[in-house]
């Protein structure tokens, strides 16, 4: 038409901008973003590097001796067995919960959603004490595998729920029009598309299993990490513990590699960009009662046990432990302040680390971004105790002013949970169409401005969820705090542990209660914000 040709003509007449600045790019990626992500990966990998140096300090033979003395094969097998049972179970629990909550007319969906997230934010050391006090049946392998599956399935749930929400309803409708019933459609269309979310979630479960400590000690299950702790406590030999950590580092790398092979190129985005309709929900009909029972059973095991035990501890307070508990209450407020402060500082820092990595992965998908993202996962290679020791060691040698300060602890906590921050951020950023940023750019905004004015406002709920997730993990982290907490300070976790380890459960109860309350709060934020993007009309 005449009007468009006029526009084209005008554009060619316009002179080139005088100060055309070339933005530096490498392999199509903006150099600044790439450098930031590399820097983050290096920072996050610092403890791993230090650990390797520490482990080799006594010479290779000393390292080999330490490894030899620990019958590593049996211990590794133990960790593996737990992961082998816990990961698929967590996968099953997570996918079914996500599907029933997101895609059916299950009664009480918001409640079930909350209950499906709470186990993740609940400190594992509280949950594991609760399991341990239930009796010997839950101790050993059964308890170890169970507690991992039931505490970490929410990560699978959250990832799959986001994935389900973003799925194009036309795909399922097309399958139905081709003669598939609801069940067939689920297995042939929905599950294949959930594969990236499912595998990613299960990978996190497996990695967590390898470095889990508190739960396994409480449930008296001997794994590699438990042995590393014992090694450290017995001999105070940092180099011995570090040498043993070689195993988990290698294992972690192998797992990351295996998962990337398994996932292949599967990163399903919508092939078509058509009209998006709200997803239809299936009627459960006669299945309502069995499904509800399934959810009740899951909630009883994952949330009922720790909360119930906590209530039981409080009833004990009224009898013998009363004096104990009241004596401890004056520590409650300072411990809460320290814990919350630590959590906020650590999570903000973790968000900062995670941002360039998440942006790179979402916007510039490829080998480089994937390697960088997975490099941050290597923090899982180290039990938190070993990582904390490594950082303390590094600080004492190269940054004496940091050594023994609260700042070092904040730094350590933020590094440990970067992978979770990346996962949560990806879930949100992945839903913001690049076209929106492109539009902002075409309107004259630079990349930073476009991010600040378009991406960030849209991603705010998801960013909040990422921060809350890290916050909850920091509250639930004990090993790092035990090593790096300045001597005059205490957290909810360390106070709980100090009392619970001497079986003074009534005295531990108030600290656990605050932790559980914070966990519930965090779960509520996570449930409503994880992977969410602000939509039109939201305030």
């Amino acid at each position: 038409m005449s009007s468009t040709s006029a526009i084209v003509a005008r554009r060619t007449e316009r002179p080139e901008p005088a100060r055309a600045r070339r933005r530096l790019r490498l392999g199509g990626m903006p150099l600044a973003l790439l450098l930031a992500a590399v820097l983050v990966a290096l920072v996050v990998l610092l403890p791993v590097g230090v650990t390797i140096v520490q482990g080799l300090q006594g010479g290779v033979s000393a390292a080999l001796n330490a490894i030899d003395a620990s019958s590593p094969r049996t211990l590794l097998l133990h960790s593996f067995l737990v992961a082998l049972v816990a990961a698929p179970l967590a996968g099953l629990l997570g996918v079914t919960a996500a599907w029933f909550i997101e895609r059916t007319r299950l009664p009480g969906r918001r409640l079930w959603m909350l209950l499906a997230v709470v186990p993740l934010t609940m400190p594992l050391f509280v949950t594991s004490y609760a399991w341990a006090t239930l009796g010997t049946l839950l101790q050993g392998f059964l308890g170890a595998a169970g507690i991992i599956a039931f505490s970490y399935y929410p990560i699978v749930f959250l990832l799959c729920a986001v994935s389900l929400r973003g799925m194009d309803p036309a795909l399922e409708e097309t399958a139905r029009s081709l003669g598939l019933n609801a069940r067939q459609t689920f297995f042939r269309v929905v599950v294949p598309q959930l594969r990236p979310a499912l595998l990613g979630g299960m990978l996190l479960v497996v990695l967590d299993t390898l470095v889990e400590f508190d739960a396994f000690v409480a449930l008296k299950y001997q794994t590699f990490t438990v042995h590393i702790y014992a090694q450290y406590e017995l001999s105070f030999s940092a180099s011995g513990a570090a040498a043993l950590s070689f195993f988990s580092i290698v294992l972690c790398v192998l797992l990351l590699f295996a998962e990337s092979r398994l996932r292949g190129g599967a990163n399903y985005t919508r092939v078509s960009q058509g009209v998006r309709r709200p997803l239809t929900r299936y009627r459960l009909g006669r299945a309502t009662v069995p499904v509800l029972l399934w959810f009740v059973a899951g909630a009883v095991i994952s949330v009922g046990i720790p909360v119930g035990t906590l209530i039981y501890w409080f009833t004990q307070t009224s009898e013998a432990g009363l004096a104990d508990a009241s004596a401890n209450v004056r520590y409650l407020w300072p411990a809460t302040v320290t814990s919350v402060g630590l959590g906020i500082g650590g999570s903000l820092l973790a968000l900062l680390y995670a941002l360039p990595v998440a942006l790179l992965v979402v916007r510039f998908r490829g080998r480089v971004s994937t390697v960088l993202e997975r490099a941050t996962y290597l923090t899982f290679a180290l039990p938190d105790l070993v990582a904390a020791i490594a950082l303390a060691y590094a600080a004492s040698h190269y940054a004496p002013r940091l050594y023994g300060s609260l700042a070092l602890l904040v730094l350590a906590e933020s590094m440990l949970f970067v992978p979770f921050a990346v996962v949560a951020m990806r879930a949100t950023l992945g839903q913001i169409e690049p076209a929106l940023e492109d539009s902002a750019r075409s309107l004259g905004a630079g990349p930073l401005r476009a991010f600040a004015r378009v991406t960030m406002p849209l991603a705010r709920p998801g960013m909040a969820a990422a921060g809350v997730l890290v916050f909850a993990f920091i509250l639930g982290d004990l090993g790092t705090a035990q090593v790096l907490l300045p001597p005059n300070l205490y957290t909810l976790g360390t106070e709980f542990q100090a009392n619970a380890s001497t079986v003074a459960f009534a005295a531990a109860a108030p600290f656990a209660a605050v932790l559980v309350a914070l966990a519930m709060l965090a779960a509520y934020v996570l449930m409503s914000r994880f992977g969410e993007v602000r939509a039109l009309g939201d305030g």
Binding site: L178, P192, Q193, Y268, V271, G274
Partner: protein
């Protein structure tokens, strides 16, 4: 091939009626196009027929078998054997083209692969496409694969939801031909939803115009274009000039003179509908034109829209000065704005009952051609 019959379909969302009493018949082996603006309820109609949504009232039957009846009967979509091509194709991203096409086939047939190749061939794609991942296909190829996937299980009827939206003009024509060819080859009944007038007119044996959830008119393309049911339909299926007039004895008197009626019978005050190609421009000074009635009506060129093959000129009549008419010219020479011309009307014109008092100027800018904008979401 199946015959589709819909009677009295109604559906409302939160008190807002989206479909009201829609009757539709699609004879076996033919293609009917449903034409409607965004929000007219056409996608809802399609989804109700296929069974993705449940109707409030009305019946849908295929070859005499009722698959939906009000809120009493609702055969699940997977049991209806209705093929469906979603907007933009909706190919399964985790499968390649061949696996997509074989998706609805029985396992044995899928393994053999003959039907997959056959279906791909139907839509004009050779067997080498089978191995291509869904996301590596171009937009047009995606639509073709989506149709092949819908046709592979040999459904009696296929429903197509805006199958060509988002394709560029040339690809649209090409893909349209491939689709028509495939449907014809299989003898499949088809119902196609579109907001594109040209697409509806050129593809459908019949075109049904849907407006605010109601079927405004259902007719063969030529009848729809030449004798639309009312002024709105007239302007929706093509460009038109609507003028007030007075009808008497098979003729109508209006600002363009005395014209013959294509739909005689109405007397008194009417609205006269004249298609742009019925109005010819006679340049000032060029005499000897317009042998018939109404020759030599003076007008002035306002502006024009050039489409390549033709040009649509907007003109102001000199005598009744606010009156604007549209004329389509295939002349090489494009008129200059401001130029005085004379107009002549060819052929008979259609008249409608005049709008109710107080309706005012109901018609939008007549120069706006069919908009190709993607359709906004419908509930």
């Amino acid at each position: 091939m199946s015959e589709l019959r819909c009677q009295g379909l109604a559906k409302s969302y939160r008190g807002r009626a989206v479909l009201r009493d829609v009757d539709l018949e699609v004879p076996a082996g033919t293609l009917t196009a449903i034409l409607g603006a965004s929000g007219s309820g056409k996608t809802t109609l399609l989804r109700a027929i296929i069974g993705f949504i449940e109707l409030d009232a009305g019946t849908v039957s295929l070859d005499g078998h009722t698959v939906a009846e009000g809120d009493r009967v609702h055969v699940a979509s997977d049991k209806r054997k209705i093929g469906y091509v979603a907007q933009e194709g909706a190919l399964f991203p985790h499968l390649n083209a061949g696996e997509n096409v074989g998706f609805g086939l029985a396992r044995s047939e899928r393994r053999r692969g003959a039907r997959i190749d056959q279906a791909l061939e139907l839509v004009g794609l050779d067997g080498s496409y089978a191995e291509r991942p869904a996301h590596e296909l171009s937009g047009g190829e995606q639509r073709r694969v989506a149709l092949a996937r819908a046709l592979a299980p040999r459904p009696g009827i296929v429903l197509l939801d805006e199958p060509f939206s988002g394709l560029d003009a040339a690809l649209r024509v090409e893909t349209r031909e491939a689709v028509l060819h495939a449907l014809q080859e299989e003898g499949t009944t088809a119902l196609l939803v579109t907001h594109d007038q040209a697409e509806a007119l050129s593809m459908g044996r019949e075109v049904a115009v849907l407006r605010e959830g109601r079927l405004a008119q259902r007719a063969a393309p030529t009848a729809l274009y030449r004798t639309p049911a009312d002024a709105d339909v007239a302007q929706f299926v093509g460009q038109a000039t609507i003028l007030p007039g007075s009808a008497r004895a098979g003729e109508v008197q209006c600002a363009l003179g005395r014209l013959a009626l294509a739909n005689p019978g109405r007397e008194g005050a009417v609205e006269v509908m004249i298609r742009p190609e019925q109005i010819e421009i006679v340049r000032a000074g060029a005499h000897g034109y317009g042998q018939g009635e109404g020759s030599g009506v003076g007008a002035r060129v306002l502006d024009y829209a050039y489409f390549g093959a033709d040009t649509v000129v907007r003109l102001a009549l000199e005598e009744a000065s606010p009156t604007v008419v549209l004329a389509r010219t295939f002349e090489h020479q494009i008129p200059v704005p401001g130029e005085p011309v004379e107009l002549a009307v060819r052929g008979a014109v259609v008249v409608f009952a005049p709008p109710a008092a107080g309706a005012g100027e109901p018609h939008a800018d007549p120069l706006n051609r069919a908009s190709d904008e993607p359709q906004a979401s419908e509930p």
